[in-house]
């Protein structure tokens, strides 16, 4: 049994290092995280115009996201998301309505749906 556990230990590090390296290289070659040129700030009223399930924008932590294509894949029923289309959704994203935040994986998915920053309004 000792040999089996040692084998699992070696296999673990091999797997983790391989997976991590593959993902890091694949992510590095993809779109950069920075803001693309010419991206203007979006006002809240503009966000409110995209408030249907087929055309759904929402604001999380001062950034506007177009999550229309994601809604069908969301683990919870679509209504929990569509309720917030066109609106400020930071608090429901952070708490899911019952005090549990979204996973780090979800946080990492968000940039893929970014539209632009929310404009400061006085």
């Amino acid at each position: 049994m000792k040999r089996f556990v040692y084998t699992c230990f070696v296999a673990f590090w091999s797997s983790v290092i391989s997976i991590w390296s593959f993902a890091a290289l694949a992510a590095g070659g993809g779109a950069a995280e920075g803001e693309p040129d010419g991206e203007g700030a979006i006002t809240a009223s503009e966000v409110a115009e995209h408030s249907t399930p087929d055309d759904c924008w929402m604001v999380i932590d001062g950034v506007v996201y177009d999550v229309s294509e994601y809604i069908p894949q969301h683990p919870a029923p679509p209504t929990v998301m569509t309720e917030w289309c066109g609106k400020e959704a930071t608090e429901p994203y952070r708490t899911k309505g019952y005090g549990r935040p979204h996973s780090p994986a979800a946080d990492a998915m968000l940039p893929g749906y970014r539209v632009g920053p929310l404009a400061d309004e006085q």
């Binding site: 673990f12 797997s15 890091a24 990492a108």
Partner: protein, 452 residues
């Protein structure tokens, strides 16, 4: 001083675990702790939309995490080592083997957990995979899990002989890191629990974690004051080269022949092992006023104990073990080698007070007559007890123990309950000879102290 039988009766009542019902309860609670969390979380998760391979892999990864954490916590709970509790598991040595396997299983599952979760994120793209494995610092509960896993690797490496056979004391000290690993793992589990609402996750893992914490605090701190008792080593009797019998004066110890204690010598003049606990078999009978243990030079601590100062203090904790039965009504074959004779000597010495056995044959395996300590005493006892027979088998004259010897010297040896205690080669040999003679596994009980 109460008569022996009354002391034993009181002790049995005082013992936490004596009856079959109590033992069954202990085993049931252990099983509940082992599978309960997985059932609880599984039920809460429900049959959600499991669509496609990534969901299956993610569920498997979550299940591996729940099972791994449960068994890690259960392993810690089982290490409480309260005298008597080990009876429910067939003795402390059996319990340690169970603990070892639980630890191995939890270690493997906890390693599977992040790998499966990372693979499950593959469909969402490389950035998500990276976020699962190495998220930002805001996702500190994930890092708590990583540190817990790394700590596990550190203190389990010697347990699984990653760098060869470990040194006993170093392994024991390093194993205390398990407390930090468990704490961080529980935090990780509570913070990242998805199926269970926050409060339930806190009750489940917090409660289980607290139970493990109690066991840890008892074992490492409280037992020193509440379970270990003060004795004085009044006499050191040499028996042979590298073997002594220690006589300990102190409070009466209620035990059965065949059980052992953990001895912590406090003699500052000792070359090694002062303040360290090590297991030794009890060689005295339960009715005696003193406790006598047999010590053979098998390591640094036992080597130093051969020269312990008479009159010095020592702590005893016990008794532990489930080797010999309480009564000897069935025909039995006892095979003892070297210091492995001690449990049988304890039993033989007890015949005078508790009555002789129905039909017990003891085969004393020694290298040669100069290594046959206790043989004269055993022969005297055999002369008095009609149901007790002793034969000496000398390796130097007759070679290793053999079927021919057993057939010639022990009538119906294959029909007896066999009890074997001694060095590993003797245990392996005896087990093989008996199995080859058709003795079923459940009729062979062995006791050996090689735990690492």
């Amino acid at each position: 001083m109460l008569p022996y039988h009354r002391r034993f009766q009181l002790a049995r009542e005082a013992h936490l675990i004596g009856s079959g019902a109590a033992r069954g309860l202990v085993r049931a609670v252990t099983a509940a702790l082992g599978v309960g969390p997985l059932i609880w979380v599984g039920a809460a998760a429900g049959i959600e939309d499991v669509s496609g391979a990534p969901d299956v892999v993610r569920l498997a990864g979550a299940a591996a995490g729940v099972a791994g954490l449960s068994w890690l916590l259960l392993a810690m709970v089982l290490s409480i080592r309260v005298p008597g509790l080990d009876g429910a598991f067939g003795g402390l040595l059996s319990l340690w083997r169970f603990h070892h396997r639980l630890g191995a299983a939890s270690f493997v599952l906890v390693m599977l957990h992040p790998v499966l979760l990372a693979l499950a994120a593959a469909a969402d793209g490389p950035r998500v995979v990276l976020a699962v494995l190495t998220p930002s610092w805001q996702a500190w509960p994930v890092w708590s899990g990583w540190v817990a896993l790394l700590l596990m690797m550190v203190y389990l490496a010697p347990s699984f002989a990653f760098f060869g056979h470990p040194r006993y004391q170093r392994w024991k000290t390093l194993h205390r890191l398990s407390a930090a690993a468990v704490l961080l793992a529980v935090v990780h589990g509570v913070a990242l629990s998805r199926a269970l609402p926050g409060a339930q996750a806190l009750w489940l893992w917090g409660g289980f974690g607290a139970l493990a914490g109690v066991a840890f605090v008892w074992r490492l701190l409280l037992s020193r004051w509440l379970s270990r008792r003060d004795y004085v080593i009044s006499h050191v009797q040499p028996l042979a080269e590298g073997v002594v019998e220690l006589t300990l004066d102190g409070p009466p110890l209620a035990f059965r022949p065949g059980q052992f204690v953990y001895l912590t010598p406090l003699d500052s003049a000792l070359g090694a092992g002062c303040g360290e606990e090590h297991p030794y078999s009890i060689v005295s009978a339960p009715h005696e006023d003193v406790v006598r243990i047999g010590v053979k030079d098998l390591g640094d601590a036992s080597h130093a104990l051969l020269d312990v100062t008479p009159g010095s203090r020592a702590l005893l904790e016990g008794p532990y073990g489930e080797f010999l039965p309480a009564a000897h009504q069935e025909p039995a074959l006892w095979i003892g080698g070297g210091i492995g004779l001690t449990p049988f000597v304890s039993a033989a010495r007890s015949f005078a007070r508790s009555g002789g056995p129905a039909d017990v044959h003891l085969v004393y395996c020694a290298n040669d007559p100069t290594r046959a300590y206790y043989l004269d005493e055993l022969k005297d006892i055999a002369a008095r007890e009609p149901g007790f027979t002793v034969q000496a088998h000398y390796f130097a004259e007759q070679g290793p123990l053999s079927l021919e010897y057993l057939r010639a010297n022990v009538p119906s040896y294959a029909w007896r309950q066999a009890y074997v205690c001694g060095p590993l080669p003797l245990l392996d040999l005896a087990r093989r000879l008996l199995r080859d003679s058709g003795v079923p596994r459940r009729h062979i009980t062995t006791e050996e102290f090689n735990l690492l």
